[in-house]
Amino acid sequence: MNGDLSQLLPLLGYMAFMIGVSIFIRYQQQHSGLMNNFVRTYFIGNRDLGGFVLAMTTVATYSSVSSFVGGPGVAWNIGFGWVYMAVVQVTAVFLVLGIFGKRVALLARKFDAVTVIDIIRRRYNSDWLAELSAYIIVLFFCATMVAQFVGGAKLFEAVTGYSYVMGLVLFGLMVVVYTTIGGFRAVAVTDTCCALMMMFGIVLLFYYVLQFGGGYDTIIADIEARHPEMLEPLSGGKMPYGLYLTQWILVGICTIALPQSVVRGLAFKDNRSLVRAMLIGTFVVGFMNIGINLSGILGQGVLTGTLTDYGGADNIIPRIVVTAMPSTLASIAIIGPLAASISTISSLLLVGSSAIIKDVYLHRQEKKNRRPSDRKLRFLSMMATAVLGAVVFVIALTPPSLIWLINMFAFGGLETAFFWTLLLGLYWRKANKTGAMLSMGGGTLIYCVAQGIGFKIMGLHQITIGITVSLILFLLGTYLGKPEKQEVLADFFPEE
């Protein structure tokens, strides 16, 4: 199926729709006067997200293209152990909203905070820490976004037969455009559409995989005969206990500290929306992770060779789509994984540009008692989003290899940097600046070095080193350093 234009139409239509939504939202906000507080509206909306949209945007941001392509490709090879591991992600939404949601919401209203860094700056009373946070966010976000772009464009190339660059332009440039125009509100709404498309794509894929393989019973009986280890939790040694442990930390528990998730706490409306989002989010994450990985396993009925026959796990899902689905439907089904990619990019772009504009530029201006005009801020905010997007786009044009490793690397780095700083900062009165600086700076550095030289303890992913070191450094710094000022503590801990 090479270069048939009808292959592109569904994707083109979808992207055009996303841009339309974004322009409409911008127009609406302009007319309701919300844009008078441009920075807040652009970066965080009007603190009025309802439960459904809150759930969908949190899930869509969190689920990346690798959950849809690389992951299920491995499931095809490993079997049910992989689904057993992937299901730990059902914790991701209710944990972050349940632990940080309201705390951050209350504090954000108190200080009129627009970013997570605003809150960190207040809590630890430190501009250095805030700037360090901003740089860490921009750096790791860029890495994640490149991974999303590359993953999406490769999938596009494999399924449609059009070139990699064409795919990158089609969905990549478009996502930069609509994020730049519409800001937070548009990201939340488009994310919701993306999450729905992901679920739809999974259902389509699941159905066609079953059809092609001759039905559920046939495929399972075939797996049992050919690969009995796929029905064991340790998968004949391919899924060691250590991997389960690190996945619990990396994609389960520690995800509560990802700034792109925590920032949702600044944006929701009330208890009702929070509670609904926790429930809906848990449903959707489970549905997606089980659905897509199960489709991967059942893909054994579609592709019966070995992993090397298909050139690695990343190629499995594209091959299954091309083999099992009629080509018109395949072009609709790939909107799902591409939606996973663009919905992650849009949120990261915006949080990244808010770090540059709000947390670095605007704060420096305010310190010098300068108040940039609204026009200027409007221009700069949009420029920062567009330029950040453009830089990542250019890097993705010549893709670095081992892309999913980069994605997990960035995940672990952000968690190392922010987990203790946020958790202890918001719930432990004694936590102080010295602890946070040491933890964020030292922990992240050691994590990166360990990744760089490939140092592991007991063969576990470096997140275990990062998160342990950053805790030790935090406690050490807190013990050595001075406690924070009374008035800061009174603002953050009125209950004590």
């Binding site: 049910f80 689904v83 057993y84 299901v87 730990v88 059902v90 914790t91 209710f94 944990l95 349940g98 632990i99 940080f100 309201k102 705390r103 919401a105 209350l106 209203r109 108190k110 559920y216 019973d217 399972i220 009986a221 029905l231 064991e232 939790p233 619990w248 528990i253 009330d270 208890n271 009702r272 929070l274 509670v275 926790m278 429930l279 848990t282 449903f283 489970g286 549905f287 089980i290 199960l294 719930y427 801990f493 009125p494 209950e495």
Partner: protein, 86 residues
């Protein structure tokens, strides 16, 4: 609700969210590894492969429903508590 009460309530909610996590982890271990030795089958699969995946998912939703119904309380998030501040 005073500001102090709100923050105490949030602390309680966060703590119970953490406890929910622990319960879910225990269930995950029991339903997956715990059932892995059993010969019983469900949907043609060994029972751990169902309990440890779909089972965990359904159980997580029940837990979250219970958590948010019993523990989580509705109160205004904006300045309503302002007058209580010294």
């Amino acid at each position: 609700m005073t500001e102090k009460e709100k923050y105490l309530q949030i602390r309680k909610e966060a703590m119970w969210t953490g406890i929910t996590l622990v319960v879910l982890i225990l269930f995950w271990i029991a339903a997956g590894f715990g059932l892995a030795g059993t010969e019983v089958k469900l949907f043609g699969l060994p029972i751990w492969a169902v309990g440890g995946t779909i089972g965990v998912w359904l159980f997580a939703m029940v837990l979250v429903k219970v958590l948010t119904t019993i523990i989580f309380k509705d109160f205004p998030l904006d300045e309503a508590g302002e007058e209580d501040r010294p």
